[in-house]
Point group: C2
Chain length 114, copies 2
Amino acid sequence: MDKPEFKINGRIWIETPDGKVLGPGRVELLERIKASGSIRQAALQMKMSYKQAWDLINHMNENLGSPVIISHRGGKGGGNAVVTENGLKAIEQFYFLQNKFREFLKADDSEFRL
Amino acid sequence: MDKPEFKINGRIWIETPDGKVLGPGRVELLERIKASGSIRQAALQMKMSYKQAWDLINHMNENLGSPVIISHRGGKGGGNAVVTENGLKAIEQFYFLQNKFREFLKADDSEFRL
DNA sequence: TAGCGTTATATAAAAAAATATATAACGATT
DNA sequence: AATCGTTATATATTTTTTTATATAACGCTA
């Protein structure tokens, strides 16, 4: 139990006065929907239940100014989901911040010593 | 639902290969033990159960190189707990990082716009 | 119009986490 | 040696969260 290797880690998110609206998990969900065109497939890939994915999307749609996902049921393939312009902006801007945060973590990586 | 105010927020912690060992909550716990000399009182102040506080302390004691809290039972007052040198260093160093992180958040505060 | 796979939604079941309760150990103080 | 308030620990209960199950709606396709 001597000399453990300490690393600083953390996470960032976007919030409104009503609470958290965007974080790493939700952004990944958006990206997977963008790639697969399906809420269901994105949920399977991330090993979360469809309900959980849907709840997250619904919450984002209602709290990110305008919808990030537009979904349709029925039709070819049974239905589909697409990321809106607003959603794409959300992904892009969050990654920008995420990258800055990574730099921050890297810079302070060896600043914790007991 | 238009023009919500977006704020970036987040949290940092210290981890070893075995997982998280120190974060804002645990540091606050250490500080309250330092001030009160009692695990129990610190737990009450933070509205957590004694068990939860004890588990956190135990985990820190076992994973922060050397103990951060030394506790005694019996005696005057029924018992007591004191923060070790190692614990004081942990508090101090975490606050140093925490302050840097606050600056980071403030600097990037208005960088998310949809 | 029957079938398909998905979205949407509610409800039930299961799992996990938090909390409460109980009890013993402890040592200075009286 | 009895009392006190705390630490230490186990067990039980409650609460919360997560996951599973079921069912309906939908619109293209064949």
